[in-house]
Symmetry: C2
Subunit: 438 residues, 2 copies
């Protein structure tokens, strides 16, 4: 693979530490991870104790040192905030370095300036982590859906508000109560405005809109309404009518016709929205995010997962690093495939014996309708160390009964040997069905 690709990290908070951890423990990940090296890390305070394995000689309090270090090929900005993040990103670009950033605020506000600079310098600025946390959405929009005419992108893209709305809908608690809990759990900032007023979601839909429709729109003109004025009564009425209320962000093209117009008209908005129960976005709860993309000819696809958090965000940052590293391998070496696209196996795998599979099991037994039968069956499972989630009797009559057993996770071999004993019980007439459970 040649020389390792040097990565410089701006910021060593939870996301930065997550990225460092992935790069420093490449075993079991894509082999290209082993071709990446962390060479310089900017932190705010050198003396703060921190829980990472980053050698202290890599650390500096001067972020410009990271950007300017000649061994840094890719600058990873995970410090957040507008400045000096914007300035450092532009400085990296100007010196011919590609940038990976999780900073949605900078990209939503200064994306155009940054993209122009990146193209002028022939470098990449990748932003998978800026929207949807760990969910791959930016790369699929750019790389997998390019054959489509995108009609609409809609999503639950703010985890804080979705956590709050999910708990209100489920428990009927007040907004103020849940907000306090969310702050305690670290899901909401002490000043929650960016989340609860919808500004964070507006940043993200501005970014998604630019990718889906191929042109930037004015972030500050997006009509944005948060959840602070939402009335519990409407959540209740909505439930009764078969809807869930979510803070939805939408970007949609309005003309269906020809492309012979000078500018594409888009409706882009962020506001609390009633979503029918059967809609794929209706059951996205808690801090999860989901993004639905509608296009021609694909129809509808949805991307769902953790919308925030150090691990998922670090996963997205590393995805971008790998994409840049993959392209760099092609540029450097003629006759070489992009290692991310190539079809290489990189380790040996084998199937385990069926009896070693670990699963929950659903078993339906026909038994005599005798009072002791559930106890006898339970004892056999206990003897085989099979832990039971539930045993329920259906359809008891003089003709007999049906007993449904759902186990906890056990090796299939334990189930097989238990069933051998159970089938031999005088009270049991047979096993009628056996399936696995999630």
């Amino acid at each position: 693979m040649g020389k390792k690709i040097g990565v410089g990290l701006l910021g060593l908070g939870t996301v930065g530490a997550g990225v460092a951890n992935i790069i420093q423990s490449p075993e079991g990940r894509h082999p290209l991870v082993a071709g990446i090296e962390l060479v310089r890390v900017a932190v705010r305070d050198l003396n703060r104790p921190r829980n990472t394995s980053v050698p202290s000689n890599l650390l500096t309090q001067n972020p410009q040192e990271v950007v300017d270090d000649p061994s840094v090929e890719i600058v990873v900005e995970v410090m957040g905030g507008i400045e000096p993040a914007r300035e450092l990103i532009l400085r990296a670009i100007a010196s011919g370095k590609s940038v990976v950033t999780a900073n949605k605020a900078v990209i939503a506000r200064h994306g155009k300036e940054i993209a122009l600079a990146a193209n002028a310098s022939d470098v990449y600025v990748l932003i998978e982590a800026a929207v949807g946390g760990g969910i791959p959405i930016i790369e699929p929009l750019k790389q997998s859906l390019g054959g489509n005419r995108i009609q609409k992108v809609s999503g639950i893209i703010n985890g804080t508000t979705n956590y709050i709305l999910s708990r209100i809908a489920k428990e009927g608690v007040t907004y103020q109560e849940v907000l306090k809990d969310a702050q305690k759990l670290g899901y909401a900032e002490s000043d929650p405005a960016a989340d609860v007023e919808g500004f964070d979601a507006a940043d993200k839909i501005a970014i998604l809109s630019g990718l889906a429709f191929g042109g930037a729109i004015k972030r500050e003109k997006i009509p944005t309404q948060g959840i602070t004025k939402l009335n519990n009564l409407d959540i209740d009425y909505a439930n009764k009518l078969g809807y869930r209320i979510k803070l939805l962000a939408v970007a949609e093209r309005l003309n269906q016709g020809t492309e012979s117009i000078s500018s594409l008209p888009l409706a882009v908005w962020v506001q609390p929205t009633l979503i029918p129960e059967a809609h794929p976005l209706a059951e996205v709860n808690g801090v999860n995010n989901a993004i639905l993309v509608e296009g021609d000819p694909i129809g509808e696809v949805m991307f769902y997962g953790p919308g925030a958090g150090a691990g998922p965000t670090a996963s997205a940052v590393v995805a971008d690093i790998l994409n840049i590293a993959g392209v760099r391998v092609i540029k450097d070496q003629s006759n070489c495939l992009d290692p991310l696209l190539a079809a290489n196996s990189w380790r040996s795998c084998h199937l385990v014996e069926n009896s070693k599979m670990i699963q929950k099991h659903y078993l339906r037994l026909r038994t005599k309708n005798s009072p002791g039968v559930i106890g006898q069956i339970g004892k056999v499972f206990g003897d085989h160390n099979v832990s039971i989630q539930s045993i329920i009797q259906f359809d008891a009559s003089e003709a007999g009964a049906e007993i449904v057993v759902i186990t906890h996770e056990v090796e299939k071999g334990q189930i097989t040997s238990s069933l051998n004993k159970i089938n031999a019980l005088e009270e049991v007439n047979g096993l009628l069905a056996q399936m696995v459970c999630l």
Copy 2:
């Protein structure tokens, strides 16, 4: 962009025609689509009338002509079946051409042979369309999740069986009845074995397992159980216990520990599975597919969408063509970015006026409890061409009533002018809430 990239198509059935249609109408898609040209197409019968815009001079009945044509850089195999598909793929690879295929049966059985040949010839074989129809899952696994240690991939990856199980669960009809319907609708083949016995799902999980865990396993050893022996009684009991039954395909690594083992032990299986109602896979119904990926540090992400069909499958095929084209652009031109990764805008977009946004609206009004009030409100909406989905009265008492209106899709301007009139009605005391609906 230089010379166009020549694509040769093996097969012009529904998927092939969908691919041709995308390539031949690039407007409104990613600009790289315009850099691709359809140069040769193999069909079974030249004289069959067909509903495509492919010029007849591109057609040939000899697929080797397509593979051997020097202007074909990328061979797209959408003819299906094992032979001659396998042979033609290997012939294309041997002559240094990259291949895109939707053929899961060939890849699941001969993937190793094909991958070895591709790497020896320094060409790509991309297979996004082989699993999950239009859902981007192969590329995200390769390109976006490479930083993770994947723990488990589980999915509903056969649309036919999911359609059958969804209808049994909802309507209580028999397997035989639904199978007949599925055959009439084109969701099931006249010989449905590949789908209903789980073989198709086993092909697909073999492919996903190889990508997720980095090494091939033996396709023929995957324990596979279809839905033909499923008893409606168990579907009923499962529902009562809070589960849905789906044909699930799972690939999971069994060791959690170090990587210092010579071969990774995997549990891979296909079988009917009970899924708790609240699980993200539980509400995947009809011919839709969904794939859940669990890894460290990402947690869980899910990809959901149409698992089959000409349009979605063609979208996935074109995604692969674009990925190869993007890499080719870098190789050809020094100082050039991969156009799929670069941050280019490629058209002008603008936001429309708020009043022009088209949405369904939820309105909650406080009114006097008078018998004519719903009629009066309905009349105002009618006068403004606002079509109503429902008007419902809540909490009627002497103090007044609350009326909830849900409209069909209308321009926001129509809602605003209707509400101006409604607020002026003597019977209406005020608008208490206004939201949009999906």
